[in-house]
Symmetry: C2
Subunit: 302 residues, 2 copies
């Protein structure tokens, strides 16, 4: 079965009964596993993580959006986080046998249904983008309050599906497809933040480092070490060990050793196995040699 992870962001982070109804749209849905949910009252926003087939995830999201349509009015929404809609953002991440093309197709299906069934206009972002407009901040610029005016005058800012006006209370949604992202932090045995900054600059793609790596230096010197905080946005192309070894080598250039590292949140199994394979110089290793993977495969067969 082709499965996806989705990370819906709704513009509600305060009213427990609304949050509960949004969560239940996923946790009670057929074939959907709600892995995580977190509400931030300052942002007035909640972020969910759910896994399932494209079909089941889309059904659950339509149900959740009906709750949002009833309960959330962007004209009265206040919160620190940028947003243009009641369902503000939702990316599809391909898992298991699913490809990026499958994730893009799922995003487009959801977009069509949001407009057709709920009259919510949709923007596509990242891999699901239809044209040059790919990045979330550019799409969301002006927030709900600004964007609802801008679309009247500027055709380049209008939704990809539906519109051109935003929904009068729901706003619009940004639906997309991207790879799972791994949050990977490496701590350097120094209190000198400057060194972490130089290493971060050397490793990140934007300043000429490794492809698919975003990096920042964080002052964690109170813990006795400074942090190079990374987001690895494509661990298939640029594996975790490549980022680790790069940071280790770069820090050594300044005479500094790595203290330890951490992975924050979820990581795909294939990414962890790739690290082990690298480190043991394994040849011909297949994930189905992992007992638990074999058992999952057998369970899916039956």
């Amino acid at each position: 079965m082709k499965r996806f992870e989705i990370v819906p962001n709704f513009s509600e982070g305060r009213r427990p009964e609304v949050l509960e109804a949004l969560y239940r749209s996923y946790s009670d849905a057929h074939g959907v596993v709600l892995l995580d949910h977190e509400a931030d009252p300052d942002h007035n926003r909640c972020v969910l993580t759910a896994v399932g087939s494209a079909e089941d995830l889309i059904e659950a999201t339509i149900a959740a959006c009906k709750v949002a349509l009833r309960e959330i009015d962007l004209n009265h929404h206040q919160g620190e986080h940028p947003r243009i809609g009641a369902l503000d953002v939702l990316p599809f991440l391909p898992l298991d046998g699913a490809t990026m093309e499958d994730a893009v197709a799922a995003a487009h299906q959801l977009g069509e249904r949001l407009w057709r069934e709920l009259q919510v206009p949709v923007y596509y972002y990242e891999e699901a983008s239809l044209g040059a407009r790919k990045l979330l901040p550019a799409i969301r610029k002006g927030n709900y309050e600004g964007l609802r005016e801008i679309v009247r005058d500027d055709p380049s800012r209008r939704p990809d599906v539906g519109g051109p006006e935003l929904h009068p209370t729901f706003g619009a949604s940004v639906i997309g497809a991207r790879r799972p992202l791994v949050a990977f932090n490496v701590y350097l045995r120094t209190l000198d933040l400057e060194i972490a900054k130089r290493v971060a600059k050397a490793v990140r793609e934007s300043s000429g480092g490794l492809r698919n790596v975003r990096a920042l230096a964080i002052d964690t010197s109170a813990q006795g070490a400074v942090q190079v905080s990374m987001n690895l946005v494509d661990v298939e192309a640029t594996p975790i060990h490549r980022a680790y070894e790069f940071v280790e080598r770069e820090a050594a250039h300044y005479g500094i050793a790595v203290s330890h590292a951490e992975i924050v949140g979820l990581v795909p199994l294939s990414a962890m196995l790739a690290v082990a394979e690298r480190s043991l110089r394994l040849q011909g290793f297949d994930a189905s040699q992992v007992l638990e993977v074999r058992l999952m495969q057998e369970a899916e067969k039956s």
Copy 2:
């Protein structure tokens, strides 16, 4: 749920319809996954790998032994492999939340039932052993033909459950508990088998090396490298990377580098994650951060 892997060895490797009936005893059993089965006509023996709860695996094994009781007569059995019974050997390996004590309890339950229900006497080995007699070769010494005479005169060779005589056609079974074993081979960039022999001698427990490691040198020089072939019998206590790093260091002492390595057959997920954690110096990592593991855990909850 506490689950176990079992590796039953039956003294039949030639008659397809008997093999089929043995396999089906597991593949058709409630709650049992038959992961693998292999028959060797020269050994006249088959080896199965199955996973399930202790209860389900014991039920399936009793069913398979009824087939063996009907179809296999040790008095007419010929084959190269040492054996004393129709079900010759069966170890329980603890998986998931199961402990070695659970595996020993399961082995003893099966032993009691084999004697009570089928009048098959049982020897216990490895962790399930009741006394000093722990190792398979010592229990099986003399084979069926010799042992059925020996038990008459030598009380120290008699079964742990039932007997003292062996079953007139089935013989006796050796039931035990042990940890999953990882077959791990490291190839050295030399054609000199002598170096592989020295490294194998240095790394193996029996000659003063690493605990829980058995090692042999194998002449694979036709492939351009010689092999240090290892069985890691407790990867929780002595992880794969410790064996790898030991071999690498030892080979470097002779000026030889590691070419590559391989894992033969199954490996527990925790053993692979431990290698990745070591290699990335991860702190605070938990297996439930692996997306697929989280999904399994959620599936078990519901």
